[in-house]
């Protein structure tokens, strides 16, 4: 399959240049929706949002509305939120519990496993023509539940989610596992939804490992808004990892993370000052986690982005953020905030307050990101501006493979994660097969060289 766009010239990661067009042009936006969002695994929601049979949560995949639903028998589904008859949304509530999704338009109704049940005047108008079993809600052919999170893909040929995730799993686990190292156990305590006048990739790239943008957060670092700020500590979070080696890791599937690799011996760094119960809780979790995870406990997360549009914060704050494209220059952001479901109430309260003052449109840290992304997008739409590509030459070649942890690892601030991300992005837009999209074609090519 070929594309109308000269992608290899526009995304030249060997040279370290990327055309501004991929961030502003309607053609790229359309190609992304056709070739990328129809294939990649996308984050849809969390099982804590749909604990009981009949529970649903309306989510998005790319530009489209989908329903995450637990059917009356307990199985989880993701359906396109659009009636098979004339397309009306069959659900316009954000969440709830139901036994049927009834379309407001002509009252076709669907059971929670997606089957078309009710068709008004069926016998008179449709008998012998309409086979109801063929007109279920459109369901994602691929669905995977991982430690509470729900992921789906529209591509029946997509590899299983764990293959897609690859070795980035070690970092995602730091987001999803209990603070004391037990697997899973998180719950969503709230969701932000807001509109950004920016291209969605600016946001994804920010989380992918762009540590270079730290100066834009100078104001919060100066005044201190972290969990110990009331005790007079500056900075935007506690300094949990001051003895660790920062690592920026990229993976053949396009994921990128910024984590810290702690030394073999490392101790709990006191945090949450002025909240002795919370500090004690995290001290306890820290010790338990080291016992449970052994060497893997040395991985401590900051941020990451799972290809293409699911970003995370690992600890302070902690949550997943999905960047849904609306148009080339408009994005709908959804942030899901996480805590351990069984954490004490006082811990949850301190965390949620910190999350709110840090994250999202009302968050003192992230407001400055939104300002950057808006004006970076705006200033890239110009005719002259689009003649000049962005520079992605930071720390070219400065990474090692599987050292000290799996993946392509840089120990200095780098745009390698971004270069890798856009290489994978280009392969989706060229319509490559899954071997290539998983980076296996690339690995094979490099091995042959």
């Amino acid at each position: 399959m070929t594309t109308i766009l000269p992608i290899d010239q526009m995304i030249d990661t060997a040279k370290g240049t990327i055309s501004r067009d991929i961030f502003v042009s309607p053609e790229f936006h359309r190609e992304e929706l056709e070739k990328l969002f129809t294939r990649a695994w996308l984050f849809v929601g969390h099982e804590s949002q749909i604990p009981n049979p009949g529970d649903f949560f309306v989510s998005r995949m790319g530009e489209e509305s989908v329903i995450l639903c637990r059917d009356t028998k307990g199985s989880v589904h993701v359906f396109l939120n659009s009636c098979r008859h004339r397309g009306m949304k069959v659900c316009r509530y954000e969440s709830g519990n139901t036994s049927l999704f009834v379309c407001p338009y002509h009252s076709w109704s669907y059971t929670t496993d997606g089957k078309l049940q009710g068709v008004p005047l069926y016998r008179v108008l449709y008998e012998g023509q309409l086979d109801r079993s063929e007109w279920s809600l459109i369901e994602t052919p691929k669905l995977h539940l991982y430690k509470g999170t729900v992921w789906a893909s529209w591509d029946p040929e997509a590899p299983d989610f764990m293959t897609y995730l690859g070795e980035a799993v070690d970092h995602l686990d730091q987001v999803l596992d209990c603070r004391d190292g037990r697997p899973g156990g998180s719950e969503v305590i709230g969701i932000h939804k807001w509109i950004l006048p920016t291209n969605w990739k600016f946001a994804a790239e920010n989380f992918l490992g762009d540590t270079y943008h730290n100066p834009s957060h100078r104001s919060v670092d100066m005044i201190g808004i972290g969990p110990s700020a009331r005790a007079g500590q500056t900075g935007r979070r506690d300094n949990e990892y001051n003895k660790g080696q920062h690592v920026w890791v990229s993976y053949p599937q396009g994921h990128g993370v910024h984590s810290v690799w702690m030394p073999e011996e490392f101790d709990y760094q006191a945090g949450y000052q002025q909240y002795p119960i919370v500090d004690e809780y995290f001290r306890h979790c820290f010790q338990e986690r080291k016992k449970r995870l052994g060497d893997k406990a040395r991985i401590m997360p900051f941020t990451g982005n799972l290809f293409p549009n699911t970003s995370y914060h690992g600890r302070q704050p902690r949550g997943l953020c999905v960047w849904h494209p609306h148009s080339p220059t408009e994005t709908e952001a959804w942030r899901f905030f996480l805590v351990d479901a069984d954490a004490p109430a006082e811990v949850k309260d301190v965390l949620r307050r910190f999350y709110m003052r840090y994250s999202g449109p009302a968050g003192m840290t992230e407001q400055d990101d939104m300002e950057n992304w808006l004006y970076a997008t705006k200033a890239s739409t110009g005719t002259i501006a689009r003649r000049y590509p962005f520079n992605y030459q930071q720390s070219m070649g400065a990474y090692k493979h599987n050292d000290p942890i799996p993946g392509d690892v840089s120990v200095q601030i780098t745009e390698q994660n971004a270069r890798n991300y856009y290489d994978v992005y280009a392969r989706y837009l060229k319509g490559d097969g899954w071997e290539s999209l998983l980076g296996r074609g690339e690995a094979a090519r490099q091995a042959a060289e």
Binding site: G190, H192, I195, L196, P197, M356, R357
Partner: protein, 181 residues
Amino acid sequence: MTRRNTLAWFALKQEIEDFLYMEADLLDQRMFREWLDLLAEDLVYFMPIRRNVKFGQHAEKENTRQGEGISWFDEDKWTLGKRVEQILTGVHYAEEPLSRVTHMVSNVRLLEVSPSPEDATGVVVGSRFLVYQNRVEYETNIFVGRRIDTLRRNGDSWLIARRELILEQNVLLAKNLSILF
């Protein structure tokens, strides 16, 4: 029941309106520190997230709740003080250069007066807000909603002890809530 057609009632209502307009003016004139002085030490500042729910479930589920989970704002005076401090660093780029903001306050109603209009020490006042924000060149946001304030007598003036802001949006249509409401 407090009589609402007495001179004392109207005088109090006028006093409260004047206070709200003065307060709005401090914000619009970017007198942020002076504005902070109008907030009680035990202030609750709360803006829930609004959700699309089925008819009949509004009371129970439409708004996120204070003290639980995630809202747009659920914070105290310390945090608002930090927000002001951040703006005053001059490097909070979401408000640097500063936005131009006008707070319109209307539909002012005294909902509760204690102990009486003649010697009120506490009032609960309902109002509407229309906040216009314009920043840099073309970026414009209009925030409209309801406000319920609990005010506490402080000598000749008042302190805001509780502010609940019901913004009439579901998905937030602005990129930021970087201004004070």
